[in-house]
Amino acid sequence: MHEMSLCEGVMQVLKDQAHEQGYSRVEAVWLEIGELANVEIESMRFCFDVVTQGTLAEQAKLEIIEVPGQAWCMQCGKTVALKQRFDACPECSSYQLQVTGGEQMMIKELEVN
């Protein structure tokens, strides 16, 4: 949706952490992106390359760990897989679903030197 803003957010964390963790180069970044986070992975890759140009993360490898969407169904009481927010429970077709996973946008770890 706004992958450029998100990548700027990632870049901000990389810069802040450089002082704290004492590194001057970022070689690789692992992001955890939930299926329901509304993030276009391909667009994220494109934007990441753009925002890292001329920074300590230039040419850094972007690894994306995709996390499947998950919800708890209030009707049948089961934890089910959810591809999209408007999907029904695959078990009982109810829409009374509480999203329990797959919404995150996290920076997991970095390879630095």
């Binding site: 949706m1 706004h2 450029m4 700027e8 934007c47 997991k108």
Partner: protein, 278 residues
């Protein structure tokens, strides 16, 4: 700068209400580009002093940080400020043309005698909306996001410094007309209120599920036009509940006034719950 949706911090303008001569105060948020490009990649000077040129001494760093942590940090401080001052902040989100500003104008006219109100207006350009709100007699401040597609918590923090909403008041933040990006950017508000008009499609909650998922209340606006349209109200509410089983829905018309008392009741009740420390 965003080449995809145009998000840009550098073009944000906050119109300060005391500047009646129409001067725009430029809030250029400096991006720190002081990157030092140390061309000397000497792999032999690391902590281990292993003199093995060309061998990488890279290490792994666990971060576990939310990508939106910077915005969320500003949002948390806004939320703290609202709590300290007993202010109910509402983030009004919708597509362009849903009637947000008209709804807000009517709400202010009807409630300004009994409640303390103020408004932050977010638009890409122009101060038209803030001027419309000021005409009702309450204080309003315009944020122009420039190329940006949403308000963020940092802009709201600056706006609060200028606007200085009163103790125990209600602050309406009218977000940029956009059903996509504002869903992800917490401003520190108590609730997101989504406004959908019946002149739009009833399947908007399915087309833009993240926004309706993030909202606590949906105002279905322009219901005075229903006789002239083929809009299935029940279907629309059903779609909204599919993406958000907890969403409350109120049917209103800011023009005819129909249903507006329910919305006012919701505002008063929500404010009271906040003041008793819910």
């Amino acid at each position: 700068m965003c080449t995809v949706c145009g998000c840009s911090e550098g073009e944000t303008r906050i119109d300060e209400q005391e500047h009646t001569h129409g001067h725009h105060h430029d809030h250029v948020h400096p991006h720190d580009h002081a990157h030092t490009h140390d061309q000397l990649h000497d792999y032999g000077q690391g902590p281990a002093h292993a003199h093995a040129p060309g061998m990488s001494q890279s290490r792994m760093v666990q971060i576990e940080q939310d990508i939106l942590s910077k915005n969320n940090g500003y949002a948390a401080s806004n939320r703290h400020w609202f709590a300290e001052h007993g202010i109910l902040a509402l983030n009004l989100v919708s597509s362009p043309g849903s009637g947000k500003t008209t709804l807000l104008g009517r709400t202010i006219d009807d409630l300004k005698a009994e409640m303390r109100l103020s408004v932050i207006e977010g638009d890409q350009q122009t101060a038209h909306d803030a001027e419309r709100i000021r005409a009702t007699g309450v204080s309003a401040l315009q944020i122009n996001t420039g190329k940006g597609c949403h308000l963020d918590a940092h802009m709201i923090g600056h706006a609060l410094d200028s606007l200085q909403p009163e103790q125990n008041s209600v602050l309406f933040i009218e977000n940029v007309g956009n059903l996509v990006c504002p869903a992800a950017f917490d401003l520190g508000e108590a609730h997101k209120v989504a406004i959908l008009s019946v002149t739009e499609g009833e399947d908007k909650p399915l087309k833009y599920p993240d926004m309706f998922h993030a909202a606590d209340l949906m105002l279905l606006n322009k219901i005075d036009l229903l006789p002239h349209l083929q809009f299935d109200v029940d279907q629309c509410i059903d779609y909204a509940r599919r993406v958000n089983p907890r969403i409350k829905v109120l049917q209103v018309s800011a023009t005819s006034g129909e249903g507006m008392t329910n919305w006012y009741q919701w505002l008063k009740t929500t404010q009271q719950l906040l003041l008793i420390g819910d």
